[in-house]
Structures are given as C-alpha cells and as structure tokens.
C-alpha cells in the first residue's frame, strides 16, 4: 500500500522489537470471537490509473453537471477565481487540524479572524463565528440560541423559508422543548405576511425570515424586525444567496439580531450539495451565547499579536452537556475558500457580481413573463431568483427543456409543495450569458406552443 511508509520488512522488524510475534497478536485485546475471521467484502485495490478512470466514467452519468443551468434554491453557480482553489490546495491549509496549538497554527487562525470580520461587514453585525456546517444547520443553531437568549420557547418561521432549512430546524428542536410554528406568506407578493403574525407574542423567542426568501422575493426586513421587537422577540434573518449582500441593505442595518447564511456563493463549488459553509453573526451582547468556534486576538509575553480559539467555556469540550452547541469542527477549509474569494473580489467585485446577477435575472424575468400563457405570480421585488407560473405542469416542461434543449431551466416548486404544480423557480447569475437566457426563453416558448 503506497500510503503506508513502513515496508513489510520494517514492520516485521518493529514487531520483533516490541516482542509481538505476529500482526494478528497486535489485536489480542479483542476477544477472538469478535474478530472478523474473513476478508472484508470490499473490492480489491485499484491502481491510480484504474481509480481515476472509474470516477471519470461515473461522472459522465451526471449530465446535469455540463448543462446550461438556471438552478438555485440554496446552491448557486457563481464564477470561482482560479486563485481560490490554488490557495486552499496548499497543504499547509488543507492538511492542518483545528488550530489547538496557536504557535504553529497562526495561518489558519489569522484567516479565520479575517473571515469573521468579513462576515460582520457583509451582514452588518458585530460579531461572527468561525463558521457552521452550512446555512441550514446554522439556522437551526440560531433557533436554539434564540431560546437560550430569551428563555422563551416558541419560534415562528416564515413559510417562505427554504423548505429544507425548515425541516432541519424541525429535526434539531423536536426534543429541545421548542415549539416551531409556520407563518404564512402572501400569495400576491410572495413575502411574509406581517399582518398574519398573530402568533407573535411575549412567549415568542424569535421570528425567522429568509431574505431574499425561497421564492427569491426580498422581504421588508426592517418591518419584520420592528414586529418581532415589539414583543421582545429576536429577529433571525436567513440568507441562502449570500451574493445578495452585495446589493441589498444588510440585515444588521435592518434590525436583525442573528443573521445566518449559506456561504456557498463565495467561491465554493456546487459539489452536489456540500461541503458548504454556514455564516453565523450576531450582536456583541450575545457573544457568550453564540454556538461554534470563535477566534480572537491575543498577545504573547513579548507583546506580539497572534490569534487563538477563544471563549471556549461555551463549548462542548469544557461544558459538556451544558454547552451552547454540540458542534466541534467548523467548516475550516470552506471558510478559507470564502475568505479568499471575498478578499479577491473586494467590495467592488461583490457589488459588480451582485449587479450582474440581478440584471440578468430581471432580463430573464421580463422575457419569460412576456411569453403567452406564462406569468410571474409574485409582485415583490427580487434579487436573482423568481417564480414563473406556466400554463401547464412545470415538471414536464422542465424535463422537456433538459432533454430536448439541453437546459436545466429551474426547479419545479412541486418538489416541495404539491399545491404549486405549474410553478418553477428560475435563478440567474453572472455565469449565465444573454445567449443562454435567450435560449431558455426560446426553449420555453417553443415547447409550450
């Protein structure tokens, strides 16, 4: 095995040296009847040549990966500058462990400190942690945190949140004594109905909204924050398309108390859903209630600045069952990718990409909305995703688009809501050219007439 440095002869010599007569005897502490008396039923080893061939062949059975695509809904196709993968591929970054020994982990620690700062700047919040698994688990952790902060047990989540995010939160809180309720969105605007928030009361820990929401619509975050604060509840804002930070007023500036986001848009490949990176930011006063790792500034005996993992007394390895979360790792390397992406793009780059996304999506919406029989059911302003209502079954239209035109035109809402059979969600980013958008429009037009 080429990954094991010691040759069989060396291993035999080492065995002799420690006085063990055979490899099998190394396992004497395992009762014989518990030892596997046969070989594993796993294939025999493949060479590098065979292995690559196998995976390359398997990858060809993912035709969607090569398609013109307008899929979004929590995972977005943005351009990734070459430097991102080049730098995260440095072994000093990707083969390092969690930075428990700060003297020889300053590279990772400083990068996370920069990441935390960037997340604060984007979200308009005071502090951010070193990242969570992804946006969905970050939202679930935010719900748990709101309960800790307010000591209230009811949480109201807008039904215009990504359905998978809601499902994850539901799983997390099912045994935590938290009642998680849905509040309706307006079928006209596509945004959370502030007037329907009748359940919002002095027992409510938090109101959770997504903006831009699952339908792409921009919520009036300020108005919802005011609503939540009137009853002493926190406002948790969820963002799945983090590129929207480049164009939209930050949740922090609109009164959010906790902001969580999926950071995949920042230099992270789609990779069939992961690994991504969850962003988690809040107000300074909640620093000791935040879940996950935190990196802070520290000085050595000679006054030299460095960075360390800090406020560890919140964490499981110290507080065990009383910890703020069971989370141990963050998404270190993906947070690094996001950091490199954001620093490469800079403020002007993020703004420019966000502008391209919005303009392309609105161009597509104008064109599709003008096709006979098609309409845009929601009136609220949107960023780069919008719902289209087709004259017939959306799923079969999308299938035909893929098979006959080679275009993945969107996500049928029936995947999540059987009551919306004719609607689909379209997303455009800076990677979609006018040519592609025109092909989508032509495709829809020709297939439905």
């Amino acid at each position: 095995m080429r990954y094991i440095p010691n040759s069989p002869d060396e291993r035999a010599e080492m065995l002799r040296q420690i006085g063990v007569s055979s490899m099998e005897n190394l396992f004497d502490s395992i009762p014989a009847d518990l030892r596997l008396q046969r070989s594993l039923n796993v294939p025999t080893a493949l060479s590098e040549l065979e292995l690559l061939k196998k995976f390359e062949t398997t990858a060809t059975r993912n035709p969607a990966a090569g398609r013109i695509s307008f899929l979004g809904a929590g995972a977005y196709s943005h351009y990734i500058p070459t430097v991102v993968d080049s730098l995260i591929s440095r072994s000093e970054f990707f083969t390092a462990y969690t930075p428990y020994q700060p003297e020889i982990s300053q590279g990772t620690l400083q990068a996370i400190f920069e990441f935390q700062t960037l997340v604060c700047q984007l979200t308009g919040m005071d502090i951010a942690n070193a990242s969570m698994y992804d946006g969905s688990t970050a939202m679930a952790e935010a719900v748990l945190m709101a309960e800790r902060v307010t000591r209230r047990s009811k949480v109201i989540a807008s039904s215009a949140i990504h359905p998978e995010y809601f499902e994850v939160a539901h799983t997390y809180v099912q045994h935590a004594g938290i009642e998680l309720a849905h509040s309706d969105y307006s079928p006209e605007t596509g945004t959370t109905l502030a007037d329907a928030l009748t359940d919002l009361d002095d027992k409510t820990a938090a109101l959770v909204v997504q903006s831009p929401n699952f339908f792409g619509c921009i919520e009036d975050v300020q108005a919802l924050a005011d609503k939540a604060h009137e009853v002493g509840a926190l406002l948790i804002v969820v963002v799945t398309e983090a590129m929207s930070f480049g164009l939209l007023k930050s949740p922090g500036a609109c009164g959010a108390d906790i902001v969580v986001a999926e950071g995949q848009s920042f230099g992270v490949p789609l990779s069939f859903g992961g690994p991504y990176v969850g962003l988690f930011a809040t107000r300074e006063k909640y620093a000791r209630q935040i879940p996950g790792r935190l990196v802070g500034e520290a000085y050595d005996g000679k006054g030299r600045r460095g960075f360390v993992l800090t406020l560890a007394t919140r964490e499981q390895h110290i507080r065990r069952e009383k910890a703020t979360s069971n989370i141990c790792t963050n998404e270190g390397l993906i947070a690094l990718a996001a950091t490199i992406y954001l620093e490469t793009m800079g403020p002007r780059g993020i703004e420019a990409v966000a502008k391209h996304c919005a303009q392309k999506a609105h161009y597509a919406a104008r064109k599709i909305g003008a096709i006979e029989g098609f309409s845009l059911p929601f009136s609220a302003p949107f960023f780069n995703e919008f719902v289209v209502r087709a004259p017939g079954d959306a799923n079969s239209l999308l299938k035909k688009l893929a098979n006959e035109k080679g275009i993945d035109g969107g996500i049928a809402l029936s995947r999540y809501d059987a009551n919306r059979p004719n609607e689909f969600l379209v997303c455009a980013t800076e990677t979609n050219t006018r040519e592609q958008i025109d092909a989508l429009v032509d495709g829809i037009e020709s297939l439905s007439h």
Binding site: Y3, P5, E10, L15, S29, I30, R35, L36, S39, N41, V42, L46, L52, T58, A59, T60, R61, A64, A65, L71, S86, L87, A96, T98, E103, Q110, E114, T117, G135, E167, V168, H175, F245, K249, E262, L270, S271, G273, G274, V277, R293, G296, A298, D300, A312, H317, E321, I327, T329, G332, L333, E343, T344, G346, R348, G349, Q359, Y363, P381, R434
Partner: protein, 519 residues
C-alpha cells in the same frame, strides 16, 4: 539533539485589511451583456445597500497570493510530518482523492438536478454506503451528517425515535437517561442533551475500561435509553467486555451507540455490528482520510442495525433496478427515497458533505480489502512501538496493550514543575505537532498519542528521541520547557485576557493602536 527541523526566516504578514488600498482590484468580469434596467426600478432604494461594503479590503490578485502564501507557512500540517493528535487520526490526505473530488461531473453538479441526470453522483453515495455498511457490520446507513458531532446527534435521535415508537410516548418519557463513560469526548454529552436526554456518567475501572458493576447499577432503574461508548475507548484500550456491556444495556431496554472516532483501530479486523452495537457514527475525516482542512469540513455518516433503519434521516439513497429492454438484465437506478414515516427528519440541507464522500470512496477503493486491514495493522503497530519506547521515560497509567493510540501522563515530569502543556510546547521546538493534551479528562495530565499508519520508522524514532530528550530536560532544566516554544514566530499567547476581553474582528479604528504592537 533536534534532528527533524532547523530554524529559518518566517515572513511577517499583517491582516489583509492592512494591505488594502482604495482602487486596487483583484477581479475581472465580462461586460454586462443584457439590457440594463435602472437599479431603482428593479430594487426599491430602501432595500438597497448604502454603505458601499465599507471596510472590505481592496487588494489585487498578487496581494491575495502573497498574503495567503505567507500566512500558510505559519501552519504545521500533515504533509510536513507526524501529527500525533490522539483520537484525531491525522493520516495522509491523498492528492488523488483531491483530484477525484474536483472532476467536473461531480464538482459542477447542482444538488437539485433531477435524479435521472445525477445517476453517477447517487451511485457514488450508494457505493460508499455499501462499503461502510460492510466495514461496520451495520446495514442501515445515512451519509447526511456533516461531521462527527452531527452524526452523533443523528444516532442519539434515532435511539430516541426507536424507543418512542417501541414503548409509546408515555412509557418512553420514563426513559430519558443516557449513560456516558467519564472518558468520553465532550460532544457525547452535548449531543445527548440536544436530544432531550439527561446524562449519567459511568466510572472507568483501574484498568481503564468501563466499570460493569457501575453499569449494572445504573441500568437497574428502568430509565436508561442508551449508552454512548467509544471503542477502542479514548485511552486507546479495546473494551474487551463490549458484548457483555451491550447485553446489559439491551436487557435494561436500552440501545448502544458507539462513537466511531477510533475506527482506525478496527477496520478490517473487527466490526461494531458483530459486537452488539446498534448505531455508530464514522468520521470520514479521520478513518477514511478526508482532509481536516484546519477544522473541517468533516463528514459523519451514521450506520445502524436493520431494526433502527426506519428512523434514519431522509432522503435515503436507494437502488431500484429496472428491467433492461432485453428483460434479462437489470439497469441500476438510484433515487432519493423520502418515504420513511418514522424518520427523525432531515439533519442537513441536500445530502451531506458530498465532496468528502467522493474522497472517502476513493480512499477505500485505493486500499481495497487487503489494504484497509494493512492500514489498521500499521496504525496499531506504530502506536505500540511508541508505547513500548516511551514507557521508560513517561508514566503510562494503564497496563493494557493500547490499540491505535496510547496515553501517557506528566506524573514524573510534574515533580520538577514541568507539566503536560510544557512538554507539548517543547515538542514544537523539536519539529513535531504536539499530541492531544489533557484529554481524556479522567487522566491527570494526559498526553494522548496517535501516530496513525502514515508515519515511517525513522520519524517515529525521531519522535521518541525528542520525547526522551524532553523528559531529560524536564529533570535537568525544566525552565526550558516552561518557556517553550522557543523557535516559533510567537510565544505562548495570553488566552485568559483574550477570553476576558474578546476581540473577535478587525475594526478600522483599532488598526493604528495595534500596528505598534505587531511586527
């Protein structure tokens, strides 16, 4: 003598915000090729960002490359050598696996692409599931959890769901106790708490194993939902009574969860499913070599018995073959199956950390059945070699033969004032990343050493020599340890002040005051 390293120049590099200059640009975009609408017409002014993303750095691509290359050199990494963190399994991260994860057909695949158009991706998940089920001897499996602690939470929620279904809500409400040995990782009690359980701690015996009498006593009250056990345990010792332990818990109406953090000692040699374990999580980033990345991403699959399978997270990835045109052969067909009414639900959006699954499958197929066992043997042999060599210089609190990791203490060195932390820091001067320290909590001054199979004999010998030299220094010149490390770019940092007055981000107004303090 320090043989592994020598000192050399280390570049200084301030925060990226200190490099920022207005007007520097690191990106390029094609011109906007669609008809542009006035911004105010598409997004109301009130919703538009008006702070210009103030404070974000403006730098060029060259700045970014230099910045990250410089700070990267301040990290220790597996590629530089032995990384003996106990229970962390820092083994070689193959470049081939990285290449596999970057194949366009996987990396550019959207998670909500239709199943028909993503058969290759689903096949990879299915194939990895099959292999992990065989390795653990537990047939039910979900790859959705994103990390070890996440897999733990999933496993414990499955136990809770099973007991609720078996006993009914009312009766099962009496079973809310989770037993956890005092040697367990902190994530165990934290995960149990998240699932609504009260933790009771089981003592370890003087041999370093689970105390069966104490276990029986705790199981006698009819309130036990389960046991969370790491095996080999965090002392590196195999729980030889594992079958008895499982029987006691099962007879008391509970289920057994195994923390798979230490599976690197067992792959190809013994299977948790054959020991009586009901559910386990694996760490693909430990046993199956996916990179730790400076703290993630991980991947924590959850494997369980047939009995617990209905409770696994959805969607499950299943195979349902369809008949080929000639009707004799079967065409494999993989799909997402949401139809499990008893499932605990979803634990993450989409299907888990897919990129890690690709790497783990590549690891398994590169090793093959014989290579997997060979890696286990080499890992245990390396740990035993260290255990054997250091026992003359360091206190080894348990006599039992360790598996893939071994625990020592600072008992002998502490008499002269040098403690575990000091030994660990001095090890840095010798060119090694320290071992896991002060864990497990039940061993005073613990030093938990796990070399893994990825270290050759020469480096093991260098490590042993370094540890012996440090033991000598502790006797003759303990000061040398107390002030270590001496050769790093910064010394020990004042963590207490950092936690008391946390500075968790850069702010423009603080740059000037700090620029005097940092080089």
């Amino acid at each position: 003598m320090i043989t592994k390293v020598t000192t050399h120049l280390s570049p200084n590099e301030r925060l990226i915000f200190d490099r920022s200059q207005p007007g520097r640009m690191g990106f390029s975009l094609p011109p906007l090729d669609v008809d542009e609408a006035p911004l105010d017409e598409i997004i109301p002014r009130d919703f538009q960002r008006d702070d210009g993303l103030a404070g974000m750095p403006e730098v060029t691509e060259v700045d970014v490359i230099r910045h990250f290359t410089r700070i990267s050199t301040w990290n220790y990494s597996i590629d530089q050598g032995m990384y003996p963190l106990g229970s962390c399994t820092m083994k070689y991260n193959s470049r081939l696996n990285e290449k596999v994860a970057r194949i366009g057909g996987f990396a550019n695949l959207h998670p909500l692409a239709s199943e028909d158009e993503a058969q290759g991706a689903l096949e990879v998940i299915y194939e990895l599931q099959q292999n992990l089920a065989e390795i653990t001897g537990l047939p039910g499996i979900s790859l959705q959890p994103a990390a070890g602690a996440h897999g733990e939470m999933t496993g414990i929620m499955i136990i809770r769901a099973r007991i609720d279904a078996r006993d009914g809500k009312e009766k099962s409400a009496q079973r809310r106790t989770m037993l956890i040995p005092d040697s367990a990782h902190g994530t165990n009690p934290a995960s149990a708490n998240l699932s609504g359980f009260t933790v009771k701690t089981i003592r370890s015996t003087s041999e370093g194993l689970t105390d069966l009498d104490h276990l029986r006593e705790l199981c006698a009250h009819g309130d036990v939902a389960g046991l969370m056990l790491t095996n080999p345990n965090t002392l590196g010792l195999f729980e030889k009574n594992i079958r008895k332990i499982c029987d006691i818990v099962h007879e008391a109406g509970g289920l057994v969860y195994m923390d798979g953090a230490n599976m690197n000692a067992l792959v190809g040699v013994a299977r948790p499913g054959d020991m009586g374990v009901d559910v386990i999580h694996l760490n693909l980033h430990k046993t199956f070599s996916t990179p730790h990345g400076g703290g993630g991403p991980g991947s924590g699959p959850c494997c369980c018995t047939k009995e617990l399978e209905p409770f696994l997270p959805v969607p499950r990835i299943v195979r349902s073959d369809s008949a080929a045109a000639d009707s004799k052969s079967q065409i494999p067909n993989y799909r997402l199956d949401f139809n499990y009414a008893q499932s605990i639900g979803r634990v993450k959006a989409f299907y888990g950390n897919y990129g890690m699954m690709l790497r783990a499958l590549a690891y398994i197929l590169t090793h093959g059945r014989d290579g997997l066992r060979e890696a286990t043997e080499a890992a245990v042999l390396n740990a035993r070699y260290i255990a054997d060599a250091l026992v003359s210089d360091y206190d080894k609190p348990f006599d039992g033969s360790p598996m893939h990791e071994v625990v020592f203490t600072d008992k002998r060195q502490a008499r002269k004032g040098a403690h575990t932390l000091d030994i660990a820091k001095r090890l840095i001067d010798y060119g090694f990343h320290p071992m896991t320290i002060y864990f497990p909590l039940i061993v005073s001054g613990a030093m938990l050493i796990e070399p893994t199979e990825s270290v050759g004999r020469q480096e093991l010998d260098q490590f042993i020599e370094a540890m012996r030299a440090i033991a000598q220094e502790a006797l003759e010149n303990p000061e040398l340890l107390l002030n270590a490390p001496h050769s790093t770019r910064i010394g020990r940092l004042d963590e207490a002040t950092a936690a008391r007055k946390p500075v968790l981000r850069w702010k423009p107004q603080t740059t000037e005051s700090h620029s005097t303090a940092c080089p």
